[in-house]
């Protein structure tokens, strides 16, 4: 009975997604006049730029209202159950113990922010114009001044790939996409993807405001799976039956508009609001259903980046699973294999950051350890200051 309910729920979501993507053109979120497509340095520093940003303001505003509403309703629901849990959600001035920031995490954030910045404004500010090298990440190519090409457009519009591009560019497209998939794998998701950055920022805000999130659960991740597969179908297939994935894709709302390009938004805008609200409560929500990420993840077996586990050091405390934004459970249940890399792993390093056993987990690149778990790091929040003074 329960499984039938689940199937119906998934089917409804998939049908809604399909309908939304197919009829995206009839559901405009914000329309720009056609002449506003195009940007220049001058535009960025003028009042017109602010005008271009209007849809972004709307999205942020609605998301904030949405988040507040969700929290409000949740507290009401919790109190209704007779147990007064909501009063615990009051945030105090006190700080929960936090470990010292790891170098790896700082590097990750710097790379993520810098890369996204370059992808959006790099072309305009520093004249790094498009090359034909394509990266399989969700940085919208509607931003025609971005630093380098991204593969998502031609992957979702295979027809255009063979009709619009010269043969040389087709080869460059395929070779560069494959090369990045093999060389970097889903490291791109954790380090480069601007969509990932947006979601991580939402998560950071939640942590700053000490708001309760959605707790990870196997059932939730199991529910994501069919939706992810359907997203892949949409991503590759919608072009063949007369739709346009770009009108549905949430990534279009970020990069082009920030670069000053007035791209009309259709369903994307609504979807982006949902994703912003969702990723506020559940870290990297979109990554769990990302079609491009799944495609990259298929090649995880030959990627040089790996998560290694020393199974003898593990105590199965499950902290890594709690921290994992992608809900990879094998990382904590595995007791035999040394390699625990999974197709879903985005190499964000959260599991290693919170692993309290020395050397139990490590991120390696071609055999070289980049980031290793250590108890000292995890416990660094607890070592009293008194200790240091006395020594």
């Amino acid at each position: 009975m329960r499984s039938r309910k689940r199937i119906i729920r998934t089917a409804v979501i998939c049908i809604v997604f399909f309908a939304l993507s197919y009829f995206a053109l009839y559901l405009p979120f914000y329309k720009f006049p056609p002449e506003s497509y195009g940007t220049s340095l001058k535009k960025i520093f003028s009042v017109e730029y602010i005008k271009t940003l209007i849809p972004l303001f709307i999205i942020t505003g609605v998301s904030v209202i949405g988040i507040a509403l969700v929290i409000f309703i949740r507290n009401k629901l919790l109190n209704k159950n007779g147990r007064d849990i909501s009063r615990y959600s009051s945030r105090g001035k006190g700080k929960a113990p936090r470990q010292k920031p790891a170098v790896f995490m700082i590097v990750r954030w710097v790379i993520m922010v810098l890369f996204s910045f370059m992808m959006i404004w790099g072309g305009l500010l520093f004249g790094l114009r498009s090359t034909n090298i394509s990266l399989p990440i969700f940085s919208c190519p509607a931003n025609n001044v971005q630093m380098t090409e991204t593969s998502c457009y031609f992957l979702s519009h295979p027809k255009d790939l063979f009709t619009e591009l010269p043969i040389k560019n087709i080869i460059i497209f395929f070779v560069s996409t494959l090369l990045f998939i093999i060389l970097l794998g889903r490291v791109m998701c954790g380090f480069l993807c601007p969509m990932g950055l947006v979601q991580d920022i939402m998560d950071k805000i939640r942590k700053k405001t000490k708001t309760k999130g959605i707790t990870p659960n196997e059932k939730m991740y199991a529910a994501f799976k069919p939706i992810k597969w359907f997203m892949i179908l949409l991503f590759f297939g919608i072009g063949f039956i007369g739709g346009n994935f770009c009108n549905f894709c949430p990534a279009i709302t970020v990069s082009p508009i920030l670069a000053g390009i007035g791209v009309s938004l259709y369903v994307s805008g609504f979807l982006m609001i949902l994703i912003l609200i969702g990723s506020f409560f559940k870290r990297r929500l979109f990554c769990n259903i990302c079609p491009l990420g799944y495609l990259v993840g298929l090649f995880h077996k030959i990627s040089p980046f790996r998560i290694k586990k020393d199974c003898t050091a593990c105590t199965e405390c499950g902290a890594c699973y709690e921290a994992c934004p992608m809900g990879i459970k094998t990382i904590y249940t595995e007791r035999e294999k040394a390699d625990v890399t999974e197709a879903n792993c985005i190499m964000c390093g959260e599991c290693i950051k919170c692993c309290p056993e020395d050397n139990a987990l490590s991120l390696t690149c071609a055999g070289k350890k980049l980031y290793t778990a250590s108890r000292k790091n995890v416990m660094s929040g607890y070592a009293s200051k008194k200790n240091e003074v006395e020594i």
């Binding site: 105090g92 113990p97 499950g318 919170c354």
Partner: protein
């Protein structure tokens, strides 16, 4: 019910006898621990705590205004108790005298630990038990379930359901139990648990855990740095000391140990057989097995018991710094890494043992089973098989809370130690190295 003056007199006599006997046995075992060579400096506070509780028969050393909450097993998150402004005490007991009284209350096949608890509560003489505002009993075995009901006649008791598996839903279930626990604690102590007080409590216990991990790291780094009995005494004393006090005391032990390590001093220059103690809990004053091992020329190089490293080794890892996130971290820490045999599938205990064997260069494993402790007894066979593959000898020692089986245990332990000595290559004697 006491009805006549004669009954009252008899009760008084009984109580007097109980106190005499109890203090005598406790003092005896304390003396034996003290007589053991190689104690690090800084051991005093731990021994004093045990003396205070069992020999002087006083409550734990905290201001009168603070309340204590009694806990059993390792699954009760102490952080929450500190957050409610109270101090937790572990009430699992190893007392022989109380055991004899409990023998009449609990059925014959009940485990001695539960009998001792029942005995203490029945006499109503132990301040540690009497001063508790509330007791938390996680239902980890049948005996604990029934003792919870029995204790309910004397004081406020909360039972906690421990899941038999460690799935996500089980953790969610446990989280909601912890919320109930919060409400009960607030009711019992009159203080509110807030974000701030919980965060503060995390710092308190976190520091204790930090010192403990330093302690274990030192122990691992250099074999023969400290005797296992002393380590177990330290761990046992944690049950009756507030976390900060314990952390401070352990810190000075750590300092003396690191000085010892720097100078290259060891407790002995002989290659004593390194033994891992696992199985049923070993609670002071029932420390006859570690004492016998060390008196017979072995060394307890590691322990995997509830009162030992297991309870405090895994820190709660906060992956989400909301209040709920902290509660989840506690639930996660309490259930997932715990190799308690109450869980249906406890393969992780075997991995844990293998890890301890590797880290501490263990040469033999003593599997301690308290009589009637079924869950531990169940796991012996599998562990014997698994460790047999590693070529590590294991023996099962069954004991009870009395001194009648000491001689028998002594013979078995001696034989086991001789067996290990035969297996290891003969040691070279060097004259110049120092012995403590």
């Amino acid at each position: 019910m006491i009805t006549s003056s004669r009954d009252r007199e008899r009760k008084e006599r009984q109580d007097k006898r109980f106190i005499n006997k109890e203090t005598q046995t406790s003092a005896k075992y304390l003396r034996r621990i003290e007589e053991l060579s190689g104690a690090p400096s800084g051991m005093r506070p731990f021994l004093d705590t045990l003396r205070r509780i069992y020999v002087e028969m006083k409550g734990i050393d905290i201001p009168q205004t603070e309340k204590t909450i009694g806990t059993y097993c390792v699954m009760v998150p102490q952080e929450l108790i500190y957050a409610a402004g109270a101090v937790p005490v572990k009430l699992c007991s190893g007392n022989y005298t109380a055991f004899f009284i409990g023998d009449d209350i609990a059925p014959r096949d009940a485990c001695p630990l539960v009998k001792a608890v029942a005995g203490f509560k029945h006499t109503g003489l132990m301040p540690v038990y009497e001063k508790c505002s509330m007791m938390i009993v996680p239902v980890t075995c049948d005996c604990k379930k029934k003792i919870a009901g029995m204790l309910g006649n004397y004081c406020d008791v909360m039972t906690m359901h421990i899941p038999t598996t460690k799935g996500d839903d089980d953790i969610d279930e446990y989280v909601s139990q912890l919320y109930d626990f919060c409400a009960r604690l607030e009711h019992a102590t009159g203080n509110k648990i807030t974000y701030d007080s919980l965060a503060e409590a995390f710092h308190k216990t976190g520091r204790a855990q930090y010192e403990l991990s330093e302690f274990i790291r030192l122990k691992k780094q250099m074999p023969y740095l400290i005797r296992g009995t002393h380590a177990m005494t330290i761990m046992n004393a944690a049950a009756y000391m507030p976390a900060e006090v314990w952390a401070d005391a352990l810190r000075s032990v750590n300092m003396s140990l690191s000085i010892r390590a720097m100078k290259g001093e060891k407790i002995t220059n002989k290659k004593l057989p390194r033994i891992l103690l696992t199985g049923s809990p070993i609670v002071y004053p029932n420390v006859k097995i570690p004492l016998l091992i060390e008196e017979m020329g072995g060394i307890v190089a590691g322990d995997e018991t509830c009162m030992g490293e297991r309870g405090m080794w895994d820190p709660p890892v906060i992956t989400d710094n909301s209040f709920d996130g902290m509660i989840r971290a506690l639930a996660n820490r309490s259930i997932r890494p715990c190799p308690c045999p109450t869980f249906a599938d406890n393969t992780q205990r075997i991995y844990r043992l293998k890890q301890l064997i590797k880290e501490n260069q263990i040469q033999g494993v003593i599997y301690h089973v308290l009589r009637g402790c079924l869950v531990y007894d169940f796991e012996y066979k599998r562990i014997e098989d698994e460790l047999g593959k590693l070529d590590v000898p294991v023996i099962r020692l069954e004991s009870d809370y009395n001194e009648e089986d000491v001689e028998q245990l002594r013979i078995r332990i001696e034989a086991f130690i001789e067996l290990i000595k035969l297996r290891q290559p003969p040691e070279k004697r060097s004259e110049d190295s120092r012995e403590l």
